[in-house]
């Protein structure tokens, strides 16, 4: 079984997983309105790290928070990152893309390549293996975990360190603005008045290993799948094709009643949330509580799949279904069980669901103590 041995989140809400979970549980959010930031003509709402807190000139801010997040995740383990049996997988959509701006000259240009950025990280940890960077749009964080599971199943490595990261910049924000995809206010996942997403900075790390036996408190990554809508490169399928198929495989033969919740992508764009409601219903999961964490963090892109898996594991540990911040009135055509309040649960499994540009979708089933 593929077991989570350690994790960390670095976000505007804290620098440990525990700090982050406590903040989310109490309803905090780092979403703020920024007007004129980075010379952008239109204001936007985002969850941003304090750029002045990252002063190590050897590394870009993305690299700094990746190194910090992995270091913290490693703290209470005895993993030797110099071992060839340890593999690093980075999950990022845009990495150091800000280096393309002609006014940026603090770092070597080749660090704009994701593989070079990843090598800086493995160099820092003395790891001899070529790092793999998963760059699969917004589903990267779940894809990277599925890759980790496969590498561990193949027996080639003892540990896989998965770190998801993205840091916002004029490049990303202006692009989403050109898509008219950003909400002028704090986002409202699954709500009738939702009108777009917010973006966010974060790095999040999960370390996995393979074990024959697990105890009741250990988190198992049971199975996951990646599926395409085969419909459109920027709009989700009207029938939730890829998400439905990914969900069906992640669920497998598990009784849906065993699920505490589905942690959806829930970006709060009109099309995404509607599509997820269709996919969830088609997969026979309409009775399972659904939540979205975008109202706390915004969309953290390459980090989202990792960050949201970690928060969801802690919520189950705490017997809690986190409320969907920003949600008031259900605004999707297929009925979903969404609430803005925290709710109690005794169930021990959840599905993390994501979808992204390129028509890609991913689902991952996580179960505490494994499937019994």
């Amino acid at each position: 079984m593929i077991v989570c041995v350690a994790h960390n989140i670095i976000s505007p809400l804290g620098s440990t997983s525990a700090e982050n979970y406590a903040a989310v549980k109490s309803g905090m959010s780092a979403l703020k309105k920024y007007d004129g930031l980075w010379g952008l003509p239109e204001p936007f709402v985002a969850s941003l790290l304090d750029r002045n807190a990252y002063k190590d000139e050897r590394y870009t801010i993305d690299e700094q928070i990746v190194i910090a997040s992995i270091s913290k995740a490693l703290e209470n383990t005895n993993i030797d990152t110099k071992s060839s049996k340890v593999l690093f997988i980075l999950s990022t959509t845009k990495g150091n893309v800000f280096l393309l701006d002609k006014n940026e000259n603090g770092y070597p240009q080749d660090r704009v390549r994701l593989g070079m950025m990843a090598r800086e990280v493995t160099k820092h940890f003395g790891n001899p293996n070529e790092p793999i960077v998963v760059s699969n749009a917004c589903i990267s964080g779940v894809c990277a975990q599925i890759e980790a599971m496969r590498y561990l199943e193949s027996g080639e490595y003892n540990y896989v360190i998965v770190c998801g990261v993205d840091v916002q910049s004029a490049f990303i924000v202006s692009g989403f603005q050109s898509f008219k995809a950003l909400s002028p206010d704090e986002c409202k996942p699954f709500d009738a008045h939702r009108c777009g997403l917010n973006l966010g900075d974060a790095a999040a790390t999960i370390i996995y290993t393979k074990k024959d036996k697990v105890n009741d408190n250990e988190w198992v990554a049971c199975r996951g799948a990646i599926r395409n809508d085969a419909n459109h490169i920027s709009g989700p399928s009207r029938v939730g094709e890829g998400s439905f198929r990914a969900l069906r495989i992640a669920l497998g033969d598990l009784n849906p009643e065993k699920l505490a919740f589905i942690n959806a992508h829930g970006t709060a764009t009109p099309y995404n949330d509607e599509m997820e409601s269709i996919a969830i219903e088609r997969a026979g999961l309409a009775g399972v509580p659904v939540n979205s964490l975008k109202g706390y963090y915004g969309h953290t892109m390459g980090a989202a799949g990792v960050l949201e898996t970690i928060i969801s594991m802690q919520a189950v540990n705490d017997h809690n279904i986190l409320g969907t911040r920003g949600f008031e009135t259900l605004g999707v055509t297929h009925p979903l069980d969404v609430s803005n309040q925290n709710r109690a649960t005794e169930k021990r499994a959840f599905i993390k669901l994501l979808s992204g540009f390129g028509g890609c979708n991913a689902a991952l089933l996580m179960a505490k103590g494994g499937l019994k």
């Binding site: 593989g115 793999i132 749009a137 692009g175 989403f176 395409n228 094709e241 992204g356 540009f357």
Partner: protein, 183 residues
Amino acid sequence: MMKHSVIITPEHVLVDGNPLMHNEKGSALLTELYRNHIGDYPKFFKMDTLSKLGFIASELLLNIEGDRDFEPREDRAVIFFNRSASLQADTHYQSTIQDPEHFFPSPAAFVYTLPNIVTGEIAIRNKYFGETSFMVIDDYDEQIIMKNLKNAFQDPITKSIIGGWVECSDEEHFEAKIFLMEK
């Protein structure tokens, strides 16, 4: 098991190891291949260079396989690797926002600033509901790629993969080395 392969560089095209005739080089080569071997998919002209390259290479690959019925299927994955991710599209999009006096961010350019879009284009063209994935390593490494693709057969439905290397750093510099693999 590897069934077929296609290699495209700015100067050469090899289909299952045999050279394919062409007159053009560089970006004009991709357009020539489109006109001579595809021709009925005008969306091609909207694509970034990475997507054009991956799309053409996959079309040549699937033409050798034959029997193109475009029936929906879930058992075929599209998994690519490269070095520069979507650098050509990134650079193009950056040019639409660089000058504050002419700040017109282009959505059609932005959408291609994700390297996995090429896998989506191929899935759309062929109605593949299967896995699509894109990964980046800083140097071509056949061993890493082959091991990863072998791992991808752990998926319960995947029976074949269009996989390999699809690299493009700018409009004139690219390299596709892709193949059709069966479980």
